[in-house]
């Protein structure tokens, strides 16, 4: 049996993101309901499996509708709702018997129906939030349970994302009683790193020398005479070109520090948290810079590579916005260790020498390509053979930056919830999500040539994130058969 067929559930237009001609909707809130009502009626018309798929989709689609806690999230929600409306109208076209046709196509739906939809979504939310809070309040946390709950997305409500991420990255142990000691230990360790590594050579020399420093108080009496010459500490002087010279190392590091500086200033220029002239933004940038410099100095093998700032930004953002004051104040130290942990799985992607090796970025991209071939051979063949879109052209950024650059900030936080909750490390889930991203736009890809496909993949259109994650999850279950 030829493997090239696409699974039936995938063929439904529900899964493909709309083309550019379907423009956005008038008012956001009523658009929720048509989808919900549609699917409730469709439950009878479709087969059992499809209906369960549809209902879960409906519920999942409502998931991002959360209390507008932050302005950025609110905007994201609105955008998602606008996309969902064309989805509902396309699903209308799919079904001939649609007794909700009037309500679906029009935007005038009763407020109560909208409230019902919202209630269903926030009920899901609230239940997950309650479950997570309950897990977190235990003395010994069940990591498997937390991972399972987190993979569906962490609600914004209780501000638990920071704690959950710290647990998922292994920064906090599962036993809650150990948290204060662990945190204190790690934070003081980071403080020591900073003191050691961020000192300039003058200060280091001062610390090292034990020779008598000219004490002006003592020699105020003899106010004339030749100044005493003393030996230099450890044969080190500012113009030294020796390898062991701290001065030489300092000047070599300035290059990297300049690079880090430039990248930090360019991180997320649209977010007030990171950019702008406010002291808050400046202090956040300083924290990012310190973390990257300490990391570069502690890891001479990999130093700093452009893109690490993008991986650092969401971590720092989440930890800094922790409602717990104490945690928010030590966000820098916590972010450093979590960053190290996160990067430990992906270090090889950043090392240029390993590009062509088994662990390097090229091999990961090949893995993605294989994955796509397994699940959707028609699309794979079209992309790689017919239109010759080399996966390196688009997947490089997707993989190395963990999709932070493809979606807006709140969406990427949601994606990271799922990525970090994978017990085997984010890489497998990442490949699945990338594959899902390709499959969702398969219609447009199959219809496009090299230029249009590349353009589409390099500027990935905004989609419903929970929908994307759902497809990715499905790929886990339906492996090549």
């Amino acid at each position: 049996m030829v493997n090239k067929r696409v699974p039936d559930w995938l063929n439904s237009s529900l899964w493909s993101s709309p083309g550019p001609q379907q423009s956005s909707v008038q008012s956001p809130s009523p658009s929720l309901t048509p989808l919900n009502d549609d699917d409730s009626t469709n439950r009878s018309t479709r087969s059992a499996t499809k209906s369960s798929v549809a209902t879960v989709n409906a519920v999942k689609a409502e998931f991002p509708v959360e209390r507008p806690s932050a302005p950025t999230r609110h905007v994201a929600t609105r955008a998602k709702q606008e996309i969902r409306d064309p989805l509902s109208s396309s699903s209308n076209n799919y079904h001939s018997d649609d007794d909700n046709g009037s309500s679906a196509s029009s935007t005038t739906t009763s407020a109560s129906a909208a409230a019902v939809a919202a209630a269903i979504s926030s009920a899901e939310d609230i239940s997950r939030q309650a479950q997570l809070c309950q897990e977190l309040s235990r003395k010994i946390i069940n990591m498997g349970e937390v991972r399972r709950l987190a993979s569906q997305g962490i609600p914004d409500g209780a501000g638990i994302r920071a704690t959950v991420w710290k647990l998922l990255l292994g920064y906090l142990p599962a036993e809650k009683a150990l948290w204060p000691t662990e945190l204190a230990k790690k934070r003081s360790q980071y403080k020591n790193f900073k003191e050691e590594l961020l000192m300039n050579p003058s200060e280091i020399t001062r610390k090292l020398e034990k020779s008598v420093i000219l004490d002006d108080e003592g020699t105020a009496i003899d106010d004339k005479g030749a100044l005493p010459r003393s030996e230099i500490t450890q044969g080190d002087h500012p113009l030294s070109l020796g390898k062991n010279s701290i001065w030489n190392q300092f000047f070599q590091d300035t290059e990297i520090i300049e690079q880090i500086d430039r990248d930090v200033k360019r991180t997320h220029p649209d977010l007030h948290f990171f950019s702008g002239d406010t002291p808050f933004a400046k202090s956040n940038q300083d924290s990012l810079r310190n973390i990257l410099i300490v990391f570069a100095k502690l890891n001479p093998g990999i130093r700093y590579v452009q893109g690490m700032n993008e991986l650092l930004a969401p971590l720092f953002y989440v930890f800094r916005n922790d409602p717990n004051e104490e945690n928010a104040a030590s966000a820098e130290a916590d972010t450093f260790f979590c960053f190290v942990e996160l990067l430990s799985g992906f270090r090889d992607h950043f090392c240029q020498q390993l590009d062509n090796s088994v662990v390097g970025i090229r091999s990961t991209i090949t893995k993605l390509s294989q994955f796509l071939k397994e699940h959707d051979e028609e699309l794979w063949r079209h992309l790689e053979m017919t239109t010759k879109v080399n996966p390196q052209f688009y997947a490089f950024r997707w993989i190395t930056l963990l999709l932070t650059q493809e979606f807006n900030f709140p969406d990427s936080l949601l994606i990271w919830d799922t990525l970090l909750s994978d017990p085997e490390g984010p890489l497998e889930t990442l490949l699945r999500v990338c594959c899902a991203m390709l499959i969702i736009v398969r219609r447009r890809l199959l219809g496009g040539d090299f230029t249009s496909n590349l353009k589409l993949l390099q500027n990935y259109p905004s989609t419903n994130i929970s929908h994307l994650l759902y497809v990715a999850n499905k790929l886990r279950v339906k492996s090549a058969g």
Partner: protein, 188 residues
């Protein structure tokens, strides 16, 4: 942590061809923030070379300089320190501490850098410090033929100056340092 290079009395091309190789290999651009030169370069090419080391270059006029428009004295503020610069052939007796102290009080500076004697000296007196970086090429002076090439690098860090003295003795670069702290007594 500001690095200031102080040198002078190169007398290129009249008395010396070039800086010693070992000095040249150490003086690379990008490390030094300021260069102060006591004078007697003597030609424009040397000025251009010093400019490549660091764009912030201050020169005072020595008696053999071909460029007539350098000032006789200069003062600048680096960190918390006021530095004064003068070639030193104007101060008579040449190299005399009391007369240099007079100039220092006139310019009202903490550190006075002068040259002309082609000998490295570093004196302290109540108003501050007087440094003579010597001749960077080892050119003979009006007083003596026996000159070791030398120059001075100052590391200014808040209220503390570490003066690194680089001398070429018997073909080897020897580095010494001198510490100097500015106290409120000296801050007149």
């Amino acid at each position: 942590m500001v690095l200031v290079l102080a040198l002078g009395d190169l007398h290129i091309p009249h008395r010396a061809a070039d800086l010693p190789e070992k000095f040249k290999s150490m003086l690379v651009p990008g490390k030094i923030q300021h260069v102060i030169c006591t004078g007697n370069l003597c030609i424009k090419e040397v000025h251009d070379y010093l400019k490549t080391l660091c764009p912030d270059l201050h020169i005072t006029r020595g008696e053999y300089d071909e460029e007539a428009r350098y000032p006789e004295t200069k003062t600048l503020m680096i960190g918390q320190f006021k530095l004064g610069l003068c070639h030193g052939h104007q101060i008579i007796p040449w190299g005399d501490l009391d007369s240099l102290a007079m100039l220092q009080r006139q310019l009202d500076v903490d550190i006075l850098v002068t040259g002309h004697t082609h000998q490295f000296t570093a004196y302290k007196h109540e108003a501050g410090v007087v440094i003579n970086p010597g001749s960077a090429t080892g050119a003979y002076s009006s007083i003596t033929y026996d000159v070791n090439p030398s120059f001075v690098l100052m590391d200014i860090d808040a209220l503390r100056v570490v003066v690194y003295v680089y001398e070429l003795i018997d073909g080897e670069v020897k580095v010494d340092k001198i510490d100097f702290k500015k106290t409120t007594q000296n801050a007149n």
